[in-house]
Subunit: 346 residues, 4 copies
C-alpha cells in the first residue's frame, strides 16, 4: 500500500509502498478515507528537537483519520459490535488498560500511552490496524469530519470540562482547535464567546464558528474589552490555545475571580506565573488538557455532530492527496490554513 | 476597652484604651476570649510593602478569634438564632452579598471583601462588633480552638476541595496551616499523608497531627521517595503551603498524572512554571485557595471538631496576653512556633 | 394601595385598598409592574386542603413579580448596590441564613423559609417590601420577563442540575415550567429535546420553545419512540413536570441506564416505584427540585436572558389587570393557558 | 477440577468434576483460593423466580473470589502487567466495552453485562478463566479479603458516591454489605455513623466495624433518635441496604433537607414513595447502586485495604470447604451469619 513514511532522521517525509499491516485478534484493519494533518506532523516533517527525542524511524506518520473497516480479528468480531464495511474513526492513543489512570477514567493520561503515527505506524496510509476498543462507528458523520474528530475532541475536552451553559468564554488563539473551541462553546450554550488571535483570517474562521466577538491583540486591549463585555467581572472560562506567554498573561488577567483557565496550547519554554496574584488571590482553577477523555469526549462530540447546529467543516480550508504532503505542510507552516486534510481513499 | 492598634505608619503595635465598638442593627457585639496571631499580623507589625499598600491606620488588628455574645442588634436578634451569652467564632471576611461571586457560592472571593483587622477594626481587643451573618455558635467547641478556626478553615478548604478519602496526599510546608492540613487529610480518610519542611520541629508537629511520613528536603529526595511510597504513581493531591519556588517544583513533580495541586502558600514573587511538561502533559488541576468557603468549610470543620478524633490543639505552641504581642510576633518570626494565640478575656 | 387579598377562609380573592407596606432597614420597597399567576395561587383561590393547612388570612397573594425600587432602608442602601429607580425582580423565598442548608449553598431548602404571598404578604399589589438580599437588578431584562423568573428559574434549576450540553432530554408535562424547560435544554445545547403532554396546545408551545420532537401519550408510545430516537439507549435526563403516576412511569422507563430523573411536578398522592427495577438496576439518580438555587440559578438565568437566543415570552399567553384575577384563575384552571401574568403598574 | 454446579433446574447445587476452563488469548486462568458466598448464590441454590428467569444450567456458580494466576493468554501476557503467580481478584461483571455506558465511565451499567457464576461459569471451582482486563493484582491484600472485594466494593461504591468526610451517615440494614458500609463511612472520615437492624448480632458486627451508634427499630424510634443526634437536621447520607419498605420509609424520613439516599438493598416488590413530601420538598438526591465502578471503586478500595486502619475481616463469620456448600447456604439463610467464605485452594 501507499504510505507517508518518516524513513530516516532529518527533514521531510517520503511516499512509499509498504506492506498492509497485519490485523491481530483484537484489531480492526481500516481502509483510510480521510486523514487530518496536525502540528505534530509538522514537527515530525521538520524533525525538530521534540521529534528527534521521540520518534524511532522508520514509522508511518499520521494520527487523525476515518475510514472503512476492511477486516476484523476474531476477538474483535466476537461481540458483533463492529462489522466489516462500517465507517469508523478511532482514538489514536493506545493505552495499557491497567495503570491507575486507565483504571480511574483517565486513560487519556495512561502511563504507557502509545500514539499512532508517532510511537507506532499511523494513518497517512491506505490501511491502518487499530485495537477494536479504540474504534468508533461514525453512524452518519461523514468521513472528512470523522478524520478531524481527534483535534475537534481536544476542543470538546477543553470546553466541556467546565460548566459552559450560560457561561462567558474567552478563547485565546484561533488555530484549528481554537476555532473549534469557539464553536463548541457556542453550541453548548455559552452566553458570550470571545476569541483572540493576531491573524485576521483565523479570527474570521472563529467568528464563522460562532464567536460573538473577535479581537486582535495588536489592535485591541483584550483584557479591558473582556471586562467591559462582562460588567467588570472577567470571564468564567478561558481556553488557552496559543501556548504563548502573552496568551497566558491574557488568560490569567481575563479570568474572573473563581474562574477557570483550561490550558491546551503547549508552550516551548517555561512561563513566569504570578501564583499569588493570579491563582491564589483569584481563587482560579487551572486544568491541563491532554487528548480526549476516553471515551466520554467522543460520545459528547458524536452527539453534537449528529444533532443539527454544529458543523466543524468551515475550519477545513485545504484538502490534498497523500502525494502532496509537502504542500499540506507548507500551508500549515505559513499560518494561512485552518484545518488541512488528506484525501486518501473513497 | 484595651486593644492592639496600628496607630500610625511604621513598625510595631500599641496597646491602647479605645471605645467599645457600636453594635449596629444587624450586628453582634462579641466579648473576645481568645484570638489567633497570623502571618498577616506579622506583616502589619513589620509594616512591610503589602501592609503599606493596604492598611489605613489607625486600625485595631487581629482577625482570628472566639468569644461570647455581649449584645445583639435588633435585626440580628430577630430570628432568635443567636442569643446573648452564646459562645461564638466568626468569619473575618465581610462580603457584599451582591456580586457574582457572593451570588454563586463563592463569597470567599467577593469583589468587595473587607477583612477585619486589616480593612476595619479587628479582634485583638476586648470587644468586636461583627455582622450577625458572619457569626457562628461554637456549640461545644472550646474558645481556644474557636480562635483558630480561620487558619484551620484554610486547611479544611485546601484539603476537602479534593476527594481525599482513600487518596495519597503531600503537604509541602508545615507552618500551622500545613500541620492542620496533614491532620485534616488523615481525619478525612487519606490513605497516605506525607509532609515536608526544612524545620524538624515543624515536621514533629505534622507527624503529631497525623502525617504517616515526614521528610526534610535538606536530607531527603522528596520526589523520589514520594514516588516510591506511591508505586511510582505520585500523589493524588499536593497541598502547597510553602509559597517557595522549591515548593512549587516539588508540588508539580510529585503530583500524579491527572492529580491536583492546591496552592495556599503565597509566594512573594512570580514562579517559573513549565506549563507544557508540568500542567498540560500531566493533565493536572491547580486550585488557588483563598479563605474559607462561606460557609461550607465552616460546617465541615465544625463536624470534625465536634466528632472525636480530630484535635488541632497540639499545633498551638504559645499563649500570651494582649500586652505581650511583641513576644508573640517574635516567636512567629523566629520560625520556632506552631500556632500562637492571645488570651484576652474569660 | 390596591391589592388582591385572601381576606378569609373560603373560595376566591378580593381586590382591596390596603396600606403600603413599611420598608425596614434591610428592605427595598418595590412598586410592582408585572406579576405572574402560579398554580399555587390557584390552590389559594380554590382554598384546597393544602391552602387550608398553610395560609393564615388575611394575606396579600402573589409571589412572582418585577418592578421598580421606590424606597430603600438605611442598611439596604448602604452598599450602594441597589438604588431607587432600579428595575428589579426578587426571590420569593425569604430564608433564615443560619441553618445548615443556608450555610451550605442550599438556602432554597432553608428550614425556616417564608414564602411571599403564602406565609407573608405578597406581590399582587401595587407595592411590596422585600429584604434587599432577595432583590436582583434586571439590567435590561423587561419587567414582564422579570415577573416570570420565579417559574422560569424552576426550569433552569431542573435542567441545569444535569450536564445538559450534548445530552438527550425528555420533558414530561408541558405546563409553563415544562415549556420553559424544553427551551432551556435547547439553549443549553441539548442534542435532543423531546416533550410530552396530553394537551396539543401545550405541545405547540413546547415546540415553539425549542423541543425537537413533541409527543402525545394518547397517540404515541412515548417510551418506544424515545428509545428509537436514542438508538435504544433512552435519554440522559428526564424532567418530570407532570406530577402524575403515568408521568413517573414514563420517566423511569425512558431514562437510560445511569441516567437522571429530575422531579418537579408535585403529585397529590404517593406513587408506586419499583425501586429494584427502575432505580437500583438502572443505576439512576433522582433529584427533587425545590425552588431556585440562591442565587446560582438566578445568575445563570440572567445570562441566558441577556444573551440572544433565549426568549420565554411565547409561553405568556394571557395578560390581565389586577381586577380580572378571576379570569386569570379561570384560564389556568381550564388548562388552555401557558403562563398568565398580571399587569399592575408601569 | 472440582466445582459447584447448578446442574439442572431445581433446588441445590452439586459438587462435580468438570474440565478446567480454556484460557483464551485475552484471558487469565486463575487458581481459586477463597470465594465469597452471596445472597445471589442463595437465590440460585433455592431456585427462586429470579434464578428461574435468569440461569441456563448447567453453570458453575460463584462470583466473588481471589486466587493465583496459573496461565495467561498471549494477548493478556503481552503488556507484562500480569504474570503467572500473581495473587489477584477480579471484577465479576464482564462488559462489552462499546455501549454508551462502557464508553462513559459507567461500565458497571453495561447494556450487555455477563456475570460470572450466573450468565457464565463462575468461581466456586478450582480454576476460573477471566478476561485479563477484569483482573487486578492484590499487591499485599490477603486472598480471604480479596475474595470479598466484590461485596465490599458495593459498600465502597454506596458510601463514596457521596462526600462522606465530615458527614453524618445512617446505614439501614446490617447484612455484610451494611456492616462494610458502616466501616467504610467511618474510615472515610464520617463524623457520625448510625446503623440499624432488627438482628442484635448484626448490630454487634456493625459496631465492631465502626458505627458510633447502633439502633434496633424494634426498640428504638430510629428517626427521632437520628434527629436528636443531628441537632434536628437529619443525616447527610442514608445507605439503604435492607430493601424493605420499612427501610425506605426510615431512609426518606431520616435524610436531611438536601440530603442523599443511596439505595442498594433490592426490594422484592414496588414501594409506595411520597415523591412530593419525601423527594421534591426535601430536595433529596436518590442514587441506585449497581455493582462497583469499573474500576474507580476497586482503586479506592485497594487504597483503604493497603493502608492501616480498615479491616473487613470481623464481618467474615464462617469459612467452609467447597463440599460444605449446604452448610454455608444454611447459615446465610438463618440470618445468623456475617460474610461466609469458601476455602478452595492454597
Amino acid at each position: 500500500m501507499q504510505a507517508l513514511v518518516k524513513r530516516r532522521e532529518g527533514v521531510g517525509l517520503t511516499l512509499e509502498e509498504v506492506p498492509i499491516p497485519a490485523c491481530g485478534p483484537n484489531d480492526a484493519l481500516i481502509r483510510v478515507r480521510h486523514a487530518g494533518v496536525c502540528g505534530t506532523d509538522l514537527h515530525i516533517w521538520e524533525w525538530d528537537s521534540w521529534a528527534r527525542g521521540r520518534l524511532r524511524p522508520p514509522v508511518v506518520i499520521g494520527h487523525e483519520f476515518a475510514g472503512e473497516i476492511a477486516e476484523l480479528g476474531a476477538e474483535a468480531a466476537a461481540g458483533g459490535l463492529l462489522a466489516v464495511g462500517d465507517l469508523v474513526t478511532a482514538e489514536g492513543h493506545i493505552v495499557c488498560g491497567h495503570c491507575l489512570q486507565c483504571r480511574t477514567g483517565n486513560a487519556h493520561l495512561c502511563q504507557r500511552t502509545q500514539i499512532i503515527g508517532v510511537d507506532r505506524d499511523g494513518a497517512f496510509a491506505e490501511y491502518i490496524a487499530m485495537p477494536a476498543s479504540n474504534v468508533m462507528r461514525l453512524d452518519g458523520i461523514p468521513t472528512d469530519v470523522g478524520a478531524i474528530m481527534d483535534p475537534l475532541g481536544n476542543a470538546f475536552h477543553t470546553v466541556l470540562e467546565a460548566p459552559v451553559s450560560g457561561a462567558t468564554v474567552l478563547v485565546v488563539g484561533c488555530g484549528p482547535i481554537g476555532c473549534f473551541a469557539a464553536g463548541v462553546a457556542r453550541a453548548a450554550g455559552a452566553a458570550l464567546v470571545v476569541a483572540t488571535d493576531l491573524n485576521p483570517r483565523r479570527l474570521e474562521l472563529a467568528r464563522c464558528m460562532g464567536a460573538h466577538v473577535v479581537m486582535n491583540p495588536s489592535e485591541d486591549d483584550v483584557v479591558a474589552r473582556v471586562r467591559e463585555l462582562t460588567q467588570g467581572d472577567g470571564v468564567d472560562l478561558v481556553c488557552e490555545m496559543s501556548g504563548h506567554p502573552a496568551g497566558h498573561a491574557q488568560a490569567f488577567a481575563a479570568a474572573r475571580l473563581g474562574g477557570r483557565v483550561h490550558l491546551l496550547g503547549t508552550p516551548s519554554r517555561p512561563t513566569e506565573v504570578d501564583i499569588a496574584r493570579d491563582v491564589i488571590f483569584k481563587g482560579l482553577t487551572l486544568y491541563g488538557v491532554t487528548g480526549r477523555k476516553m471515551y466520554g469526549t467522543w460520545q459528547q462530540m458524536g452527539r453534537f455532530l449528529r444533532a443539527d447546529g454544529f458543523d466543524p467543516r468551515p475550519v477545513i480550508t485545504h484538502r490534498y492527496p497523500l502525494a502532496r504532503i509537502d504542500d499540506a505542510i507548507r500551508v500549515i507552516r505559513d499560518g494561512q490554513a485552518g484545518k488541512v486534510i488528506l484525501e486518501i481513499g473513497t
